[in-house]
């Protein structure tokens, strides 16, 4: 039976599976759905960050808007006591276990939200323009390596800026189609950009 | 007062319109009145008129801080209907609707009350349930309201998009045929003229800054920017400023003020025969007799007296209109303005006595008091004259917020416009 059972793990379905989009000369804009990973919502007091860092195996930054990203793990500080942790699928269980061990000394809430959202990678010289079709942030003021929760038209997103012309956003599953359609609709403008 | 009529119009035209009299006089305040009404909106002016006409009380002043009719009376989308859910509300609004039907003739001023029918769209199964509930209740209350299928709704309002693939498809609609719109400004002018003709003083540019009470607590007059004016009775009918003025008398009222915006398109030939409301997408629309589409938005979430509002709300409203009526996208917006609506916790008005002897309150009409104008005026006059509420406004007390006997049209998910 367990053979049959394990098959299912590979049969996952994501709203944006394999989605890709490019537009404009250059191209101005490239978008693709990001691969799956483990995601955790971590809530704890700032004083516990050292412990949490230990459990996660990578620095968890203390200031809202900061993001630490090294190798394959990323930690985003979204609120005064809220972090989003991204890690490879394979580390999900070990991370959970390490945090569980700490709950006595450092109260926290670690909730597995791996399946809650999907990621979209957006890059190119037009990336910021396309986001600004629906995002009210001044994206030039968002530093490279920064992150924030914000809004894109009618959808809440978590926005990361890994590079100058590179953004990654996280959107809750059921909003993903909307966000993708919105961005690609805006991206189509590059096909005719008339200045 | 010169009676308005077609022959009068011709006669005056022959005289180059030289001798049309003032529609309302511009008196100086007297030192004392029997009744002072604070706020020369449609409601306050209506109350003054009915006090004079029906109760013989003519030593009355209506005190207005700006130009009369310049509050929400000047800025509303003028929708009139009475198909409210609860019997208390239905009675109240239907009383007003009845008065609207004879108003132009009664006060000899054409307020262009147009009973072109009000459609309210249902976009979800839940909406359908709510609207059916309204129809049943209205029928038993003797208020006209009927259910239309999407096709019937489209026949009644041809620009309506009833495609089932719309993001918010039209699943049906209620229609109140007696509902419609009126020329909002004219209502204020009409009541002002009719009240003034019966001896009421209308004091514009006269803001109330304090309410003065005698030792025994009874009111004795108002402080204004034009000096103290004595009064035996004071009625506050100041819509957005109700709570500020009631505070002057030491009475706290459960009213908060929020911005509400509206807009008109450029004028076009008749293209929209009726009034359409959609609560689900927050937009409502009709076409004025002059030709512009008159469109209303939803209220903002924050307290404000700014008579303005943010752009994103207008974007939302206009996109909702374009969803429901896709042929309108290329029309242009001509003007967008805001009002300040006075909202109570149960979205029903407060109309009656207050804990202060001689002080009456008419307020909290929120997004939907224009339709009540004649009724509110009529009932307020009654309440002032007899120092007790008329049975129709008896349920609309201040006390209900303490006891919990709310008249919750909002919970019943009715649009209040």
């Amino acid at each position: 039976m367990s053979d049959e059972l394990s098959i299912i793990v590979s049969e996952q379905s994501n709203p944006l599976d394999g989605a890709a989009f490019a537009a404009g000369p250059g191209p101005m804009l490239v978008m693709a759905s990001a691969g799956d990973c483990a995601r955790f919502s971590l809530r704890t007091a700032k004083k516990n960050l050292a412990k949490a860092t230990e459990a996660f195996g990578q620095v968890i930054p203390p200031q809202i808007g900061e993001m630490s990203s090294r190798a394959v793990k990323t930690a985003l500080c979204l609120g005064p006591d809220e972090w989003l942790l991204l890690a490879p699928e394979s580390e999900r269980e070990s991370i959970t276990a390490r945090f569980a061990k700490q709950s006595e000394q450092a109260t926290h809430s670690l909730v597995d939200v791996s399946h809650r959202s999907v990621g979209i990678d957006i890059s190119g010289p037009g990336a910021a323009l396309v986001l600004n079709a629906g995002c009210p942030l001044d994206l030039t003021a968002l530093p490279v390596g920064g992150c924030t929760r914000t809004i894109l038209d009618k959808a809440e997103i978590i926005l990361m800026k890994p590079g100058k012309e590179h953004y990654r956003l996280e959107v809750v599953r059921s909003f993903a189609d909307f966000v993708w359609n919105f961005l690609s609709s805006a991206g189509r403008e590059f096909e005719t950009e008339s200045g | 007062m010169t009676r308005f009529s077609f022959p009068a119009l011709v006669r005056k035209a022959i005289g180059a319109d030289k001798d049309w009299p003032e529609q309302w006089a511009k008196p100086d305040p007297k030192s004392d009145y029997d009744v002072i009404i604070v706020g020369a909106g449609g409601h306050g002016l209506g109350a003054a008129y009915y006090l004079a006409k029906e109760h013989g009380i003519t030593n009355v002043a209506v005190v207005e801080k700006g130009w009369l009719g310049g509050g929400n009376t000047a800025r509303n989308t003028a929708i009139i209907r009475s198909n409210y859910l609860y019997e208390e509300s239905a009675a109240l609004y239907d009383h007003a609707l009845g008065l609207w039907e004879g108003l132009s003739q009664d006060i000899n001023y054409n307020v262009m009350f147009s009973q072109r029918g009000v459609l309210m769209l249902a976009h979800t199964v839940h909406d359908v349930q709510i609207f059916k509930r309204h129809i049943h209740a209205n029928r038993l209350n003797g208020v006209d309201n009927e259910w239309l299928s999407p096709e019937q709704a489209k026949a009644f309002c041809p620009p309506l998009n009833i495609s089932s693939s719309a993001r918010y498809p039209v699943l049906g609609a209620t229609l109140q045929r007696r509902g419609g719109v009126a020329r909002h400004d004219a209502v204020a002018w009409a009541y002002a003229r009719a009240a003034a003709a019966r001896g009421v003083d209308i004091l514009e540019n006269c803001a109330v800054t304090g309410i003065s009470r005698a030792r025994d607590g009874q009111v004795r007059g108002v402080e204004t920017t034009r000096g103290f004016i004595g009064a035996k009775k004071i009625a506050v009918s100041a819509a957005a400023h109700s709570s500020v003025i009631m505070d002057m008398a030491g009475v706290r009222v459960p009213i908060e003020c929020f911005p509400l915006q509206a807009l008109v398109s450029e004028p076009i030939e008749p293209a929209f025969p009726c009034v359409v409301l959609s609560n689900t997408v927050h937009a409502y629309i009709s076409q004025s007799d002059k030709g512009e589409l008159v469109i209303g938005a939803g209220t903002e979430q924050y307290v404000s007296y700014s008579q303005g509002g943010p752009l994103h709300s207008i974007e939302h409203t206009v996109s909702a209109i374009c969803e429901m009526f896709p042929i309108f996208t290329r029309l242009r917006m001509l003007r967008n303005w805001g009002g300040t609506v006075d909202v109570t916790p149960d979205r029903s008005p407060i109309l009656g006595k207050t804990p202060v002897p001689g002080l009456y309150l008419n307020g909290g009409w929120g997004t939907g008091g224009f339709k009540a104008t004649p009724g509110a005026g009529h009932l307020l006059a009654w309440t002032i004259a007899r120092d007790e509420p008329h049975p129709i406004n008896a349920p609309f007390t201040l006390e209900r917020f303490r006891t919990g006997r709310l008249i919750d049209e909002a919970a019943a998910a009715a649009v209040a416009h």
């Binding site: 379905s13 | 309302w24 511009k26 038993l140 042929i327 242009r332 917006m333 006891t403």
Partner: protein, 1000 residues
Amino acid sequence: MSSFRTAKGGRIKRKDAISFSFEGKAYTGVKGDTLASALLANGVHFVGRSYKYHRPRGIMSAGQEESSALVGIDRGQGRYDTNTRATTQELFEGLKAQSQHCWPSLRWDIGEMNSLASPILSAGFYYKTFMWPKSFWKRVYEPIIRKSAGLGRAPRAVDPDVYASRYAHCDVLIVGGGPAGLAAALAASRSGAKVILADEQSEIGGALLSDPGSRIDDEESWSWLASAVVALAADENVTILNRTTAFGYYHQNFVGLVERLSDHLESPSSNLPRERLWRVRAKRIVLATGAIERPLVFAGNDRPGVMLAGAARTYLNRYGVRVGDKPVVVTSHDSAYLTAFDMAENGVGVEAIIDLCTDVSPELLKGAARLGIEVLPGHTITRTKGRLRISSIYAAPIEPDGSVGPERTIDCDALLMCGGWTPSVHLFSQSRGTLSWREDIGAYVPDVYAQNASSAGACDGHYLLSEALNGGAAAGQAAAIEAGYKAGKPNTYEVAEEATCSGTLIVELPTGANPARIKAFVDFQHDVTAKDIRLAVREGFHSIEHIKRYTTAGMATDQGKTSNLSELAIASKTLSRPIAEVGLTTFRPPYTPTSFGAFAGRSRGNLFDVTRKSPIDSWAEKRGAVFEPVSLWRRARYFPRDNEDMHAAVARECKATRSSIGISDASTLGKIEVVGPDSAEFLNRIYTNAWTKLGVGRCRYGLMLGEDGFIFDDGVVGRLALDRFHVTTTTGGAPRVMAHMEDYLQTEWPDLDLWLTSITEQWAVIALNGPNVRKLIEPFVEGIDLDKQAFPHMAIKEGKIYGVPTRLFRVSFTGELGFEINVPSRYGLTVWKRLIEEGARYDIVPYGTEALHVLRAEKGYIIVGQDTDGTQTPDDVGMAWAIGRNKHDFIGKRSLTRPDMLVSNRKQLVGLLTRDPKNLLEEGAQIVATAHPSPPAKMIGHVTSSYWSETLQHSIAMGVVEGGRARMGAELYVPMPDGVHQVQVVEPVFYDQEGGRLNV
């Protein structure tokens, strides 16, 4: 080349001919033309009809202030634009324009008869008549009034164009690209500040575009302009937006602009949006919006051929068009002389300059003499002649006593007027700045700023080119500094031989005729005349706001751009009150009419709102489910087979569930993970129920109230660990509940140690109900003993199903043995498909929300929002048992003891059975106590839920009834359109009262 095109000059491309049509007649223009300039080049002035009197009207201006020359433009395929100003529409190949508001044709218009009745059509006439006989209003008068209304043709087809939008941030936003705006942009850009320069015209340049003769720093103005634009375009920190109107100035320097991307193109590419809404937040704003020329008010000032003098100059210098061959100029301001001089220099025989002022500057007189133009200082125009085009005017001297001397006729084919200039303070005023009246220039100018902005040039009351340039440069520099940049000294510009620029504000031109009998237009579109304004004042409309609303002056599509000041001046004079005291009406957005499409942007069709879909939605769609929207979600309502209707499908789905297995997608339920040592205490306060004693591995139905004591939401809560709960909410209530909980946690009880995490979308939820469910899943579940004792009703456990992690709930909303399988969302679809496959042997049937509603109603379970409407307490719906009586407090508790919560006749939830079991009540039907109610009837309740129960073979209903529980067994009545139905009040549980089917 058409007859009125000049031989040379202008900014048009003479070689690029463009054909277009107006009123079906073909014409030729050239590239760079507007529709108006092309028509004028062809000698066409008469293009429209006015609103009320249907008077023939021509082209009055050369810009967006135009209120007469409005046309319809049809580009086919639903691209029909009504009320388009000929003066701003750029010409493109094949443009087709039509006149509006006339029938059968522009030339022969029946509506012109209105002019005959004009004496009685004075301001507000309709308020005074059409009242008798009463029934005529609805049947006769109003239809006629409505029919005659409106200006443009209504659109008939759906617009295929798309609209875009964009947020942008900048250091300095400059509105207006005339000399002031350009100089500001140059100065700001030099500092490195991020600058946006927007101008609504096709080309940047403003007044310079009409003024090739001026010299800036010893350079020809057009060459200066070209280098300025090149310099700005080269700076990557500068964004130049032409064809972009700033329409609204909102809070904290937030400005809405619309960029028109394709209206000037012959065949735009389909990906090119027609317009783009820019939402700009600027640190600092420089307003350089210029000034608008004012018409003069006199009898017959509206004939085709009467035009603003500045416009005529624009047509000449910018478009190479003579607006006439023998124009007359009438003015109260120096600037009109420039028009006359430029025209004369281009070989046009200017018949005369009628100057209302007596003391004309010697230089201007000299200039006129040099060009052979007769100047009549101290003269007025008393009337004009010409039906479809002006043919002559009557000029007369103004005597020292103000009376008018003998008239003299002057033939002409154009009359160019100038009553001075009105600074464009619209945006400033929208920003809530206050204006002050400047008597010397007869205009309102910005005074106190409410936001971080400044003004420069003509919009600030500085009309000289040198002032515009130097004021603009200073404003640009200051703005950059304000925005935090270092800016060197601004440039100073020198303008050679600058013309004088002064005038007098003339309210109404002196006339010998009775002013009460003449039509001297103030608002040209709405046909508001000077006498209308006087009538309004006479009738007691003293506030300018009243005058506006009574006469409709300033309410036309130009929003009073050319009329407000005349209106104000006439009112002031009639009221004998200074203009400054009379004040202005409120400036509101949009600055110029702005398309709905631009506001709607991309929010159309499937982007109008989010449609949330569950992980299993695609399966349901393939299976042909009929969906219903529930908040933002779409949920499968039923799964019809072979053309079944809803009724049949639901009956089948219910039956299958009760007899074997039904499967449904419950993924949309809200879910919140509550973690932390104080979780149970938190839930104690949030819910009516008590949570402390709930064992790990158990669940409980929870009821949540608002602080007002009324039911707010409900759902099942499972305890995963001492400090970890899995909370579920209704689908529609999920965001509201999360916000409510966060609010109390953060602001009322910050001392509690716990956190809330939304996990709605982490888990797909598959609800399985029916007697065979356990049998179906048992083989595939790992780590959970499904045995009745080990895993009883209302239990929760973590384990695996098909090898993927699950949080398995044993709960039931149907009264059958039920499990809710939570699996991480990405597995939801696969698990669902497996269950469907494996379930085939039990005839598993997917059911939708409708069957779900029937099944739960058979059990008397409520749906918050359907059986409750925000006015029910727990006791009202028979759920007093859910209240933890010993709890000190919970949200809403206090409200339950308010006097009106304790009265005996509150509406209570009951079951209702129709006398005829086949009869189905309508949801929302009202309940009365008498068999023959007549309006207004006393209603004692209403039907909240009503269904056909296939299982019970009779209809069932629930409703709320005053004092309902005391009426058990009583007969009541439900009036419906088809008659009054008799019903019996019963317990609201219709099926398996003992709950035997649950506990198996």
